[in-house]
């Protein structure tokens, strides 16, 4: 609450805000909002934007080795979309009074996080398909409800992003299908990739409900619509029949249909691994952040040149035409 504001006024504002959110009204940038609501959104949207940017790396790793020109074009377009998603999300976050530079600085210094999934390496071409199918699939399951999030700019960004993401997901599935129906070596490559990406994808939904620090408040504010465990269950229920039609297995012997619950039961997640990766000890944490920092540092002279040029030509708008 801002200092100097009367207790009465702030109570009124808060009550009005709570009522608007409860009525599913959208909060817009110039509306009053609780400081904690603002801070939570900045944190979540920044982490989301950072994930798009860091998430370019594991896939870009295969652009120069894509095995056909069609697949290469699809992959390039996808990585380009991710940069675009990052840009939307940084812009949306900026409506809350932060700046892209400030957020990138927090990413580079490790003060803000990105999705732990991108700390896993892409070891074969099939990983590109597994990321599309499983990682993008999990992301969509998480993100579709955000299209109805209480904060307008975030919700609108997610509408655009989800459309592109679901396209990526179908492409990833189709890539895996081609491998699964291909040669024996291709099938094995696809299976190996699914084996490595399955559990990390389930971890994308975050810690179990009873260990999730921000869940209750985020749900009350309608930033979040469903609990981590609900979304995880929804994802498993969708993925199991998809794996069957792909002709691939999921690396969990405990997966079985539970008639009573109307859901698939599945095995226990290795939460020690999850927390370890989150703390920075995953297979690629260091590489990912180093590459990001290096790109930023090596690009400093380019950004300085653009700024110097803009300054020299301020007033004339663009450079004087010959």
């Amino acid at each position: 609450m801002s200092a100097g504001m009367s207790a009465d006024l702030s109570a009124q504002l808060l009550a009005a805000f709570d009522a608007a959110v409860a009525a599913d009204e959208r909060v817009e940038p110039r509306d009053w909002m609780p400081d904690e609501y603002r801070a939570t959104l900045v944190r979540q949207m920044a982490q989301h934007a950072h994930s798009e940017i860091i998430g370019m790396q594991p896939e870009a790793n295969w652009i120069t080795r894509a095995p056909s020109l069609r697949r290469k074009a699809i992959l390039m377009a996808k990585v380009q979309d991710e940069a675009g998603h990052g840009l939307y999300l940084y812009s949306a976050a900026e409506t809350l009074g932060t700046s892209r530079d400030e957020l990138l600085d927090k990413l580079h210094s490790g003060r803000q996080k990105y999705s732990s999934i991108f700390n896993y390496p892409t070891l074969t071409w099939a990983d590109v398909g597994a990321i599309g199918w499983l990682v993008d699939g999990a992301a969509i399951t998480n993100q579709v409800p955000i299209c109805r999030c209480s904060y307008g700019p975030y919700a609108r960004a997610m509408v655009r992003i989800c459309k592109e993401e679901s396209f990526h997901q179908r492409q990833g599935y189709e890539l895996l299908l081609a491998l699964s129906r291909g040669t024996e070596a291709q099938h094995a490559m696809a299976q190996d990739a699914v084996n490595r990406w399955w559990w990390p994808s389930l971890m994308m939904f975050g810690p179990p409900d009873d260990e999730s620090a921000h869940s209750a408040q985020s749900m009350a504010w309608r930033i979040k619509r469903h609990s981590n465990d609900e979304l995880r269950q929804r994802f498993v229920d969708i993925a199991v029949p998809q794996a069957e039609s792909l002709g691939l297995t999921l690396p969990d012997p405990d997966i079985r249909w539970n008639e009573e619950r109307g859901h698939h039961d599945f095995g226990a997640i290795d939460w020690a691994e999850f927390w370890d990766v989150l703390k920075g000890n995953g297979p690629c944490n260091e590489e990912r952040i180093n590459q990001r920092r290096r790109a930023h540092e090596e690009g400093a002279w380019v950004r300085e040149a653009a700024a110097a040029y803009a300054e020299k030509h301020t007033g004339t708008g663009r450079e004087v035409q010959a």
Partner: protein
């Protein structure tokens, strides 16, 4: 047709395409394919997010052009993945390593200015390349603008950016003579190519002047001789580019992806 035991592609043409048209399609297709590949190496490394989008966008346009052109000459994947270094017909300019951002922009400036003029010329004609050129000329107008805008910013930015841009323009200058050698099957004679070169020099000179830079000096004969790339004589980094690009495809002979 690809011979599976050797993995070496032999010449094959799409029905209705004569051999000299196929040869020209291969030359232009290889230019687009290889430059697209180089730009693809930037993904995740660009100096600013907007450039991640822009460089990928240009790479995708070029890859699209490459796919159309290579398909005029045969099977796009056989041609991209199963030819060896000596069979590629691209200009030496487009295979040059990315270097720093200024090198990438200088390479793009030289090539986009050329490609824009060339496709303008082809689009105006009624030859087999006219339909492709009509679409590509719109893309290359954007590529050209992008390269020009960055040349202005780097040339007229800071001391450091100016120095780097100068170095890049000078370093790549020797590969520019090859751009204006007639390409067999393209239907543009020496006189037309010379006229393209004159226009290219004028356009380039204009951009460089506005950027506070001057045209580089010195030989433009390439690493071997002007035109060598079109004869399959390339520079050393090119073999490594192909090794990376082709490795997976070659590891699974006959597989579909």
């Amino acid at each position: 047709m690809n011979s599976p035991d050797t993995g070496i592609a032999t010449t094959t043409t799409t029905p209705g395409t004569d051999a000299s048209t196929a040869a020209a399609a291969l030359a232009l297709g290889d230019d687009a394919l290889i430059l697209s590949h180089r730009l693809g190496e930037w993904a995740g490394h660009a100096p600013v997010l907007e450039e991640e989008v822009a460089l990928a966008n240009i790479a995708l346009d070029l890859l699209g052009q490459a796919r159309v052109l290579l398909s005029m000459a045969g099977d796009e994947d056989e041609l991209a993945y199963l030819r060896e270094e000596r069979s590629f017909r691209n200009l030496q300019l487009v295979e040059q390593p990315n270097g720093d951002f200024a090198h990438t922009i200088a390479r793009q400036l030289y090539f986009s200015l050329h490609q824009h003029e060339l496709y303008g010329e082809l689009a105006a004609g009624d030859g087999p390349f006219a339909p492709l050129a009509a679409k590509a000329v719109k893309e290359t107008a954007y590529h050209r603008d992008h390269a020009e805008q960055w040349t202005l910013r780097l040339g007229d930015g800071t001391e450091e950016s100016r120095r780097r841009m100068r170095t890049a323009l000078d370093g790549l200058w020797k590969y520019t003579g090859e751009l204006f050698r007639p390409v067999e099957g393209l239907g543009l004679d020496q006189e037309t190519m010379t006229a393209l070169e004159t226009r290219w020099l004028a356009a380039l000179g204009g951009v460089l002047e506005r950027a506070g830079l001057t045209l580089p000096e010195g030989s433009r004969t390439g690493a071997w001789a002007a035109g060598a790339g079109r004869e399959g004589l390339h520079t050393e980094s090119f073999g490594r580019l192909l090794a990376e690009m082709q490795h997976l495809h070659r590891s699974h002979p006959g597989a579909s992806w």
